[in-house]
């Protein structure tokens, strides 16, 4: 199988300094701030990591919109390559660095904070599924816009409100009762729900699997929507 598109998407995604900060510097830096992970701080490292992954996935997934904006997609489609192949290679390229980052963070957690096997594997699975869902969401979101700037600005607002309503950096208990469940329309809510149940019980529970299932369903929704929209 020809992996040229995958390689170029990967290089193009990581060439952006902001993407490098979000994907390579911020997550390990967060891991080094001990109070975030020991419950000594108001902010939770697990929630902030959700936010970082969400942002990092969006920055990576901007490759498709820049291809469309620069007209590269027209040239790619004139080559003997199917749209499905192009999308699959791109999405895979966006997911790979984020998954490596999640694996690295899990390893750091095991080394620095003595995470047990269940917790480490549970967090790895949860963050990996969230990564895939975030990439799909960013891809579907980018399909809605013609300009990269419009997509970036509006998505910034979505991430800010979504993270707040999902409980990524503000505990849901602090929100008004009417808003406590609104965040469920974002995958981050279900990611946080899975992580919270894992942290509270110290074991994989039904609530954890509900979170994973919801994120997978979100992923399918975004993939179906984004895959149907016209790219050219």
């Amino acid at each position: 199988m020809n992996t040229t598109i995958f390689r170029f998407a990967l290089i193009k995604g990581l060439r952006n300094p902001l993407t490098l900060i979000f994907n390579c510097i911020l997550p390990p830096a967060l891991m080094l701030i001990r109070p975030l992970w020991t419950g000594e701080n108001f902010l939770s490292g697990y929630g902030l990591l959700i936010l970082v992954i969400w942002g990092g996935a969006f920055l990576m997934a901007q490759g498709t919109i820049s291809d469309r904006e620069s007209g590269a997609i027209t040239r790619i489609m004139s080559a003997p390559i199917s749209m499905r192949n192009y999308l699959m290679q791109n999405l895979f390229a966006y997911m790979v660095p984020l998954t490596i980052q999640v694996a690295l963070i899990t390893a750091l957690g095991v080394i620095l904070y003595d995470w047990g096997l269940t917790l480490a594997l549970g967090l790895f699975l949860c963050y990996t599924v969230f990564t895939a869902t975030s990439v799909m969401m960013s891809f579907a979101w980018n399909c809605l816009f013609k300009k990269k700037e419009s997509s970036f600005t509006t998505f910034g607002a979505v991430v800010t409100f979504g993270s707040m309503l999902s409980g990524a950096y503000v505990p849901l208990e602090l929100l008004p009762e009417a808003l406590q469940y609104v965040g469920a329309i974002f995958p981050a809510y279900w990611g946080m729900r899975g992580i919270s149940s894992l942290l509270e019980l110290g074991a994989i529970s039904i609530d954890y699997w509900i979170g994973i299932a919801a994120m997978i369903m979100f992923m399918i929704v975004f993939l179906l929507y984004g895959g149907k929209r016209r790219m050219i």
């Binding site: 406590q180 469940y181 609104v182 469920a184 329309i185 509900i210 299932a213 919801a214 369903m217 979100f218 399918i220 929704v221 179906l224 929507y225 895959g227 149907k228």
Partner: protein, 345 residues
Amino acid sequence: MLALWLTESDTTGFFLFLFLLVMSLLRWRFPKLGATVMLDCAACILTFFVWPYALYGLILILFEGMYRRFYFVLLAGHVFYFMDYFDLSYALLLAFGALSGVFLSGWRKEQGQKLTIRDEEAGKYYELEHLQSDLVATIPQIERMTVVAERARIARDIHDNAGHEIVAAYITFQTARDMLDGADTDALELYDAALARLNSGVNKIRETAHNLQTVTTLGVESLLEICEKFPVCPVNFSVYGDTSRIPIYVWSMLESCLNESLTNATRHARPSYVSVELDATQHLVRLCIENDGAKKSKGGMGSGLRNLRHRAIAIGGTFSMDMGEKFRMICVIPIKEEENESINS
């Protein structure tokens, strides 16, 4: 439904909503999966026992089912078997969902029909535009052919009429010279000088007539040249009748027919032979082109052939095709009396 789920903050409701969304997107992405709407019905009815508001999902399903013209979805109306009582407002909502789907589907169908009509009209417009550009391109070709034909006629007239007369006069003068041997010396010198100038004049006329001959082939020669250059198979070219009566614009039309037919044979068929027959009578010209490659090609009449038909009709002729076992194209063009007279004169 989203509002209901948010109000209730129920995970079951959320999953049902997400499931309906996934299935709806799946049908949007793959329209052939229309029957999966029954799965949605089953999911709503099953969820009803856990979350009563699930039945409201049936309104959406009825709407989508009717929109996609999947009428089995009307079975969802039997939902009242699961309820303890008949809820009129709920029944009205179900009916509203179904009717909205029907109306929207009708509107979409009408929109599709209008789009088809628009596309057909646009196709006709582009075809006419193509025909017009073809005709515009033909005008300079006919002009060029007219000039060349006129030049050839002048050369032929000089060579055949004037040239022969002057040569005959020159020979007569030479014979007369032998009879004048005893005449006055001055008169003989003058006679010889006149004879030499006449000889020079004869040579110049011959040279001029030769230079006037065109390099470009015309008429039958042109058709023959096209046939000889056909690379796929040998072309059997036959001519019957007097072709000198055929006017220039008809030759242009015949050339176009032959070119188009041979191009089509190269592109769409693999003929083992091509036969071209040109039949000229006093009142009409008939060109018949035949090849045995048509059975391998399935296409109908292309824009090139349609344009030729328009052109043939425009000059009072007919253009017909037979795409049976063999491909046969016949173009018949009448020659008007005044054209015959002008050519003769």
